[in-house]
């Protein structure tokens, strides 16, 4: 191991904490809690310096957006503004208990309300809930809304349709909500096959889940036809908002006739990924679905903001409190900084950067779909595979050049897929550097394939034995 575990710094009696002495007398804990007291507690005994050294060392083994480009398709790894961190740490905004009286929280509630209004404006949705704590959580919430809607109408609809290019959370969320998942193939242009869709649509269809542009970065030109087809059989259409960075100011899901959707604040709205969260996945709905939103819903009466719990048709709650408030503060700060025009420029530059990369890379790497794409695009490493190195090898070799790899082997419709999304916060310098590196690797495959096949070489650890990790799990010290 490069850096030992924190418990390996332990020395019995070492202390890292400080607490003031107890000011009151002791109650007889041994008598009152007989049988419930712990005898042994195994936790590290380290000093504050140990903790700082250890976690600093760990951080040095990591790569973040602040380290370099993250061309990960479907993740929108844009720059995380530092001023947003400042806002989120303002004590008056963060040292608040969720059950404080709302009269004391009008400042925070106003921030959340403004965020709701802005999200509604960006998407042309009517009402927003901020409660889901991640994109998948938002998907699940939306599908429960769909379920309740049909129950309310006494319609027994059990099917949810998902394209084969969809993110895994889509079918997983549908299954969690109790639906049967029907997958439809994309056509040779990478878009929803209208005939395939027509074949599966019937009075048993609850919803179609789509993202637009899709995971190939391609805009569904027939989107209005698609939403019409679903509505014609009485179904609903759900928009996966992961790709919002491609359309802000240019198109709105509400205008595409989607009935409900989720947003990813940790994608489009710049909040940090944190190594795997926290995120936030607000859900937007058209008016007719508003009654089913999780409770409470943030409302305004005259000048006062309050939480509305009087929602008899609500699906219930998906989070113990109101969602990931700290993440919302950052998203609010981002939208306030960038502004309406800025959001449109954000989209323009995201799409420009992606198309620039595509133009420079498509000579050396196969481009499976000739369609125009927006903020992300998919290449296939199939040419390189024939020369002896897979997409996985290429991804690992990129790490040697201190750059993060694109999303690999997704979407499933492309063999040896590499999904690339630079976002608008990269500039021509980092983009050119990425292109040069990819071209270098492509050359290496021809001239010195072992170098690529055995990558990475210079990272903290080299290729890890994932088989052993799964066959003989070692999951705690």
């Amino acid at each position: 191991m490069e850096e030992k575990l924190i418990k390996d710094y332990s020395s019995p009696g070492r202390r890292g904490y400080s607490l003031p002495p107890l000011e009151v007398g002791k109650s007889d804990i041994n008598e009152n809690l007989a049988g419930y007291l712990r005898e042994e507690l195994e936790l590290p005994e380290v000093s504050e310096v140990d903790v700082v050294r250890h976690y600093t060392a760990l951080s040095e083994m990591n790569y973040g957006v602040d380290s370099g480009i993250y061309p990960l398709g479907s993740c929108t790894m844009k720059y995380n503004p530092k001023r947003n961190e400042r806002v989120a740490r303002i004590s008056g905004l963060s040292n608040i208990h969720p059950y404080q009286p709302i009269e004391q929280l009008q400042g925070s509630l106003e921030i959340l309300y403004q965020l709701k209004l802005d999200l509604a404006e960006i998407s042309a949705m009517d009402e927003i809930t901020l409660q889901p704590a991640s994109g998948a959580h938002g998907e699940f919430t939306s599908l429960l809304i769909v379920k309740k809607y049909f129950e309310d109408r006494e319609e027994n609809r059990t099917k949810v349709i998902v394209p084969d290019s969809a993110h895994g959370t889509n079918p997983a969320s549908a299954a969690m909500a109790g639906f049967d998942v029907v997958e439809i193939a994309s056509n040779e242009r990478g878009m929803v096959d209208l005939d395939a869709l027509a074949e599966v649509l019937d009075e048993n269809t609850a919803a179609l889940m789509l993202t637009n542009p899709n995971t190939l970065g391609i805009f569904e030109e027939d989107i209005l036809k698609i939403t019409e087809m679903v509505h014609e059989v009485g179904g609903l259409v759900y928009y996966d908002g992961a790709n919002m960075n491609a359309i802000m100011g240019y198109a709105k899901p509400g205008l595409m006739d989607f009935d409900l959707m989720h947003f990813n604040l940790h994608k489009t709205f710049s909040t940090p990924h944190g190594g795997g969260g926290p995120g936030s996945g607000p859900v937007g709905v058209k008016d007719f679905l508003a009654p089913y939103l999780p409770k409470p819903v943030l409302k305004k009466d005259q000048e006062k903001y309050f939480w509305d719990y009087q929602r008899p048709k609500s699906i219930g709650k998906v989070h113990s409190f109101y969602g990931n408030y700290g993440v919302m503060l950052r998203a609010w700060a981002y939208i306030k900084t960038v502004g309406g025009k800025g959001l449109k420029e954000t989209t323009e530059n995201a799409v420009l950067n992606a198309n620039y990369l595509k133009a420079r890379l498509k000579k050396d790497f196969e481009l499976p779909y000739a369609e125009e794409s927006l903020h992300e695009f998919v290449l296939s490493g199939s040419r390189q595979k024939e020369e002896g190195a897979s997409t996985l090898n290429i991804a690992k070799r990129l790490l040697d050049y201190d750059q993060y790899a694109p999303t690999i082997y997704f979407p499933l419709v492309v063999k040896e897929a590499m999904m690339i999304e630079p976002t608008e916060t990269e500039n021509i310098g980092t983009l050119d550097h990425f292109v040069e590196t990819m071209l270098t690797i492509s050359r290496e495959i021809k001239e010195d394939p072992e170098l690529v096949i055995n990558a990475p070489h210079t990272t903290t650890v080299r290729k890890l034995d994932e088989t052993a990790a799964a066959r003989n799990p070692d999951l705690h010290w």
Partner: protein, 445 residues
């Protein structure tokens, strides 16, 4: 614009490479009907200075806990958060990092998660812990559906001594898989084991217990556990307070099959309810492990024999299993898990114990003093850890309101939860002076 560095000249260069005249050309495939005609009806952007001014102005419209004494608990706890946590998680390699799929560049995140999993196992006594869930309520909900999958049963016993918000979330998740909930009504803030027994049958997937329960009381864990164990097909799910596990016996010792809870109190602060941190742990059992939702980090070696960490057992998860996944969970609460890991490392075995003990003694001091006042009674006096129910002659809502003027939040109004009294919580942060002030004020009301 602040976050976009492309200059006009650079944009031109890019447009040329692409082979188009202007950026708008890139969007021509978008049909007019779905285009936003007007500009977005959102205020223009601001400078950082103005942003901060706005943010502080909003903060000024709040009354935070900087300005008052709080005895609020009920699922979110005001424990002291050492400064070391923010300093370390503010390192951008931690907070701007992506999910550690490319393990070679993410050893920092992965090793920290391994440590987090280990410490959760230490606290709960369980064999396996995952990398985090979205919050305590959804963790409980996913544990319930997990139990239903494992036992192939659909009946769930849900006592009313469990946090009402959690019960709501559990039931909401339950609608997706047609679970059948038995709402066990209790008296005197404790489950009656005999009543529980009457409701157990061979269709029961799981019995859910909170430890300590919503009212701060400790359930008859031993007795209930035996009862559940006798019912072969039923699992025992314990929702535990991780800070108090520094003092209290591990749920594993009571035969818990799955343990979940809210770990916000391990260093995440209050943050108006989120981001928080669900934790989940289960028995070291093959069948259970494969049904466990969430990411899991494992230790392994690389091609040079060097030890390292990697996301493992991914075939349970959505990106591989899709609709057959154990859960849809993708983004979880990784940074908060890191905060918890740093908190537990910093406090260590003695520190965590002391936090729990101080909370206990202080709460008992306050409860004793309040119980002695005329017109007030601590209902679960004989059996509570650091939260208790204060029965009041005067209307609880009124009382709480009046005390706000003295910059005191007396506690959580149990009327909201459908019962009566005030749920008062005391942590190591409450000083004797603050507690005495509460007593003084209540005395005259």
């Amino acid at each position: 614009m602040d976050y976009i560095s492309n200059t006009a000249a650079e944009k031109d260069k890019m447009l040329k490479e692409i082979g188009i005249k202007e950026v708008k050309d890139l969007f021509q495939m978008i049909p007019e009907a779905v285009s936003a005609d007007d500009e977005l009806n959102i205020e223009s952007g601001t400078s950082e200075m103005e942003l901060m001014r706005k943010a502080h102005a909003q903060a000024a419209k709040n009354k935070s806990l900087d300005q008052q004494i709080s005895f609020l608990g009920a699922g979110a706890y005001d424990h002291y958060v050492p400064g070391i946590i923010d300093a370390l998680i503010s390192r951008s390699e931690f907070y701007t990092a992506y999910t550690p799929y490319q393990a070679e560049l993410s050893q920092g995140t992965l090793e920290a998660i391994y440590e987090y999993q280990s410490m959760i196992c230490d606290l709960t006594g369980m064999g396996i812990a995952n990398a985090s869930m979205l919050d305590g309520g959804s963790a409980a909900a996913e544990a319930v559906t997990m139990a239903a999958r494992i036992t192939r049963n659909s009946r769930v016993i849900l006592p009313d001594t469990i946090n009402p918000a959690y019960r709501e979330v559990i039931k909401t998740y339950g609608t997706g898989v047609d679970l059948d909930f038995v709402d066990l009504e209790t008296e005197d803030q404790l489950i009656d084991p005999t009543q529980l027994k009457e409701n157990l049958d061979d269709q029961t997937a799981v019995v859910v217990l909170q430890y300590p329960n919503f009212y701060g009381s400790i359930e008859k864990m031993e007795e209930i556990s035996k009862m559940v164990k006798n019912n072969k097909k039923t699992l025992l799910l314990v929702i535990a307070n991780p800070v108090l596990l520094g003092v209290l016996k591990a749920p594993a010792d009571f035969g818990a099959d799955i343990v979940v809870g809210e770990a916000q109190n391990l260093g995440s602060g209050l943050n108006y309810g989120g981001p928080y941190l669900g934790f989940m742990a289960c028995k070291d059992d093959r069948k259970m492990l494969r049904q466990l939702p969430g990411r899991i980090v494992g230790k392994t070696t690389d091609v040079d024999g060097k030890e390292g960490f990697v996301l493992t057992l991914q075939t349970r998860e959505q990106h591989i299993r899709r609709e057959k996944a154990t859960s849809n969970i993708c983004t979880n609460e990784a940074l908060n898990a890191l905060m918890a890991t740093i908190y537990l490392s910093t406090m260590g075995k003695e520190g965590l114990k002391e936090v729990g003990e101080q909370s206990y003694h202080k709460a008992h001091y306050l409860a004793d003093r309040l119980d002695q006042l005329a017109g007030y009674q601590v209902l679960n006096k004989e059996n509570f850890f650091n939260e208790f129910v204060l029965k009041t002659e005067k209307d609880s809502t009124e009382l709480i309101k009046e005390l706000l003027a003295d910059d005191i939040i007396a506690g959580y109004d149990l009327k909201v939860a459908g019962s009566e009294g005030i749920l008062v919580c005391v942590t190591e942060k409450r000083s004797k002076e603050e507690m005495d002030k509460l007593v003084e004020k209540l005395e005259v009301l």
